[in-house]
């Protein structure tokens, strides 16, 4: 008996050890073979030229690995997806990866090389990584399919040449699909908002210069605008990044928009430079450090969390907010706020740096080498680059979730708005009938048609006023050659890290910005390979058609 139990125990241990090794390949088999018939190019193409539905009639299925949004219960329960499955005849198996760990998981899945899903969606992966994977043969080059199977995307690329230049890499390959935006609310990405009643109470106007900005913050901090008798108001409670975005224009920084936010053009020499390594930035750091020292900026600004900001915005503790949308303020408080429609003037400069190109981002949809029917996948996604498809993607089904009103405008149906009241948050409500959730979509996004939070009253008001004040040229995301990729991935991360650390210390008052300290800072960036990185960006920008 004793012997027997020893053998049993031993066998169990050995099995459990072996089990760990096996599980992976098991799931691999079930994952990638999920009913994808290998019928290659002989697919059923009802609408020749790549439009028209259904796409297939034989129940072809695709596996899509998608970045999950916390509010989404399950992707297959989304009504827009169910509707689209009926339309296309394509079965989608969703592999949902939690939002925060998505990029790590994706890197590991790609590194293992097997067990790849057909498609990766809502990923927001950088072009640098995608080109690396593409060159390693893990991704399918989409370029040859665009003419035949993607008429909608093709039309958009002809309309916006910068989109085309951002999507094609220098070797003429396309490894991922973009998000394309139209309309002021998206082109102006960050907007500023103030508490209207506080400004009135304090007798202050909307700030227009740096001095006025400081003055308003001081009044908020000391004037007790919330009237509770305590000085518990905080001037700046937003993140340091957002504060810098708000101020860049006044110092002439980010004068090519903030999509390539680390780089812009030196107005004196006309050459490329680091946004965070020039005299204007030094002035800005000094200015922010002064605000911080005086207590006008939250002393724990570097422990910023979105939830803490939201609670302060809704509990009368802060009256200044910068964001793309206006969604952290609760509905019942929204009327107390107004949008800033003017820029902040600096000594020399006066523009609104927070602008993006029509090419919002690349890397939102890509096809791995495991996919047997790339043309089906591409026809499936191309619809979202059309007006109707974009509506389905962002706002759900016509007649069920949205409708054309009597006056010709678009709006949600009463039934849909009723569901909003039952849902615990706007995100949860939207996730029930649209795929929009939290961006990074392979789709066209048009401000005229969609009513996501960026198109609410205040953000729209701010965007429409500021659209004339954005930089004339706004750089879109660009593509690099393999050598440039290598240089950038070798140096850029460390340089950015160094800049962030030094800026943080200056703002916290741990370093005084003497001439020596500043020269040392510039020298260190150069020693770390700054000039090489700048040269790569310059060459890539020249290839993308921008002048220097």
């Amino acid at each position: 008996m004793k012997k027997f139990s020893a053998i049993l125990l031993c066998a169990c241990l050995a099995l459990s050890a072996a089990g760990c090794g096996n599980t992976k390949s098991d799931s691999g088999a079930s994952g990638s073979n999920a009913g994808t018939p290998a019928n290659g190019s002989s697919i059923d193409v009802p609408g020749e030229g790549g439009s028209g539905f259904p796409i297939v009639t034989d129940g072809t299925s695709l596996t899509i690995m998608v970045r999950d949004i916390p509010a989404v219960e399950a992707w297959e329960k989304c009504t827009a997806i169910q509707h689209y499955e009926e339309m296309t005849g394509v079965n989608i198996e969703w592999i949902e990866i939690p939002y925060d760990s998505f990029s790590t998981t994706l890197t590991q899945v790609m590194a293992s090389g097997d067990d790849l899903p057909d498609i990766i969606m809502k990923s927001g992966t950088s072009a640098v990584k995608l080109n690396q994977w593409g060159r390693d043969g893990l991704l399918i080059d989409i370029a040859p399919y665009i003419d035949r199977y993607m008429p909608n995307l093709k039309a958009l690329m002809e309309k916006y040449p910068e989109v085309k230049r951002g999507v094609y890499n220098p070797d003429g390959q396309v490894f991922s699909l973009p998000e394309i935006v139209e309309g002021a609310s998206y082109i102006v990405n960050k907007k500023a908002y103030w508490r209207k009643d506080w400004l009135e109470k304090l007798g202050k106007k909307m700030p227009t210069t740096l001095d006025e900005f400081e003055d308003v913050l001081r009044a908020i901090k000391t004037g007790d605008p919330n009237g509770n008798g305590q000085k518990d108001e905080i001037g700046v409670s937003i993140s340091m990044d957002d504060l810098m975005c708000y101020l860049y224009g006044a110092f002439g920084l980010q004068n090519r928009g903030n999509q390539l936010g680390q780089y812009d053009v030196d107005p004196k020499t006309g050459d490329i430079r680091f946004v965070r390594a020039n005299d204007s930035y030094r002035e800005m750091l000094t200015y922010i450090a002064k605000l911080y020292k005086e207590g006008l900026v939250d002393q724990e600004v570097y422990d910023y969390t979105a939830s803490r900001l939201a609670s302060r915005l809704n509990n009368d503790q802060t009256g200044f907010y910068v964001h793309t949308a206006f969604d952290s303020v609760a509905d019942e408080n929204k009327s107390k706020w107004e949008a800033q429609t003017n820029t902040i003037k600096g000594a020399e400069f006066d523009f609104w740096a927070n602008a993006r190109n029509n090419l919002h981002s690349v890397g939102n949809f890509f096809i791995t080498s495991a996919c047997k029917n790339p043309e089906i996948a591409l026809r499936w996604v191309d619809y979202f680059y059309s007006t109707e498809g974009s509506m389905l993607y962002h706002n759900g089904i016509e007649g069920v979730d949205w409708e054309v009103k009597a006056d010709g405008s678009y709006g949600y149906t009463d039934d849909c708005l009723k569901r909003r009241e039952d849902a615990s948050s706007a995100d949860e409500w939207k996730a029930q009938f649209s795929m929009w959730g939290w961006g990074m979509n392979p789709a066209l996004m048009s401000a005229d048609l969609e009513w996501v939070s960026e198109c609410e009253e205040l953000p729209t008001q701010a965007a429409e006023a500021l659209i004339d004040k954005i930089p004339e040229v706004v750089w879109a995301p660009i593509q690099f050659t393999e050598e440039e990729n290598d240089i950038i991935s070798e140096y850029e991360g460390d340089i950015k890290k160094y800049m962030t650390t030094m800026s943080t210390k200056v703002i916290l008052g741990q370093i005084e910005l003497t001439d020596d300290a500043w020269n040392q800072y510039i020298k260190t960036i150069n020693d770390m390979g700054g000039a090489k990185v700048l040269e790569c960006y310059k060459q890539a920008l020249i290839r993308a058609g921008y002048d220097f």
Partner: protein
């Protein structure tokens, strides 16, 4: 004569071989259940410790996914040279060494001290209580510990700042998490709080192995409690201390990645970037697999060298060593 000597030597060798083989077979026959139980352990080591070592070769290759680990092109020491030349080499190495040396210098004696203190307690129940209380934090996740620390050290709401202000030690709140200088002390002290009691267990068991008759004899001779500690307890602990010291020195450059990573922020990156977080950034975040493998291998090589050196020193200065 010489030939005969050689013959006997040969014979003796054969005899030893033979008897060894026989002993092995006999032992197999007699204790086969025990050998069977050894199989999972061996399998574990082969599967999870030795097989992955084959992957180390990518440190010397230009790894790409298409060609895989075996097919990628050899490029020699290029990645190592790149690391030695890089701006990060000095800072990460110094940071790693500083953090792990401080953790060793302060954390190692702390465990011994806790063990001795617990041993000196008179009542059995209080011994058990204190021991449980000191090692309980070991079971907390690092995420929780770092979260606790951030909350307690917060300049506006943290209890520590409130106390320091109340007692007039500080005039204004101190932003602990945002100062380079407080990173290492925070790391070390929280480490002692979390793992000091756990590390003491091995010393407590060593202490219980000391012959009680020695204490009785000492008491009869009129030794005070302190003298008993000095001449019986501590010498009894020395072999364990040496062994633990050698083992710990093998980890000298492998600072735990999770805790440093969680404690990192914009202000302390210059002192908190260690080799393991650098490997993570390069490997997992940037996808430079070969380069991060090379950096990791360099780290392991140093650890191994440290282990050998410390073992040698211990062997020549004391009687104790690992081998």
């Amino acid at each position: 004569m010489a030939a005969k000597k050689k013959e006997t030597k040969e014979k003796a060798k054969q005899l030893v071989n033979y008897s060894f083989k026989r002993a092995l077979t006999r032992s197999f026959k007699k204790y086969w259940q025990l050998y069977l139980l050894l199989i999972p352990v061996i399998a574990y080591y082969i599967l999870f410790k030795y097989m992955p070592m084959l992957g180390i070769q990518i440190a010397f290759k230009k790894y790409n996914m298409r060609d895989g680990i075996w097919g990628s092109q050899w490029i020699g020491f290029k990645h190592f040279i790149k690391f030695f030349k890089s701006y990060n080499f000095k800072t990460t190495l110094i940071n790693t060494a500083r953090i792990s040396f401080s953790a060793l210098i302060f954390g190692f004696p702390a465990s011994v001290l806790i063990a001795i203190l617990i041993n000196e307690l008179r009542h059995n129940w209080s011994k058990k209580l204190v021991q449980t209380l000191t090692y309980a934090p070991h079971f907390l996740s690092v995420v929780v510990v770092v979260g606790l620390m951030t909350t307690m050290l917060s300049p506006s709401t943290g209890i520590i700042n409130q106390l320091l202000l109340r007692f007039g030690i500080l005039n204004e709140p101190y932003y602990f998490t945002m100062h380079e200088g407080s990173f290492t002390p925070m790391y070390v002290l929280s480490g002692i709080w979390q793992n000091g009691g756990w590390g003491a267990i091995i010393y407590i068991s060593a202490l219980s192995g000391i012959d009680q008759e020695q204490y009785e004899a000492a008491r009869v001779d009129g030794a005070s409690r302190f003298q008993q500690l000095r001449y019986i307890t501590i010498p009894g602990l020395v072999p364990t201390i040496i062994t633990m010291l050698i083992i710990n020195s093998g980890h000298i450059l492998s600072v735990g990645y999770e805790k440093v990573f969680l404690m990192q922020n914009n202000a302390n990156l210059m002192v908190s970037e260690v080799i393991s977080t650098y490997v993570y950034r390069q490997g997992i975040e940037s996808g430079n697999y070969s380069y991060s493998a090379a950096v990791g291998l360099f780290n392991s090589a140093i650890n191994f060298a440290m282990l050998v050196i410390v073992n040698k020193i211990c062997k020549s200065t004391t009687e104790n060593s690992l081998w």
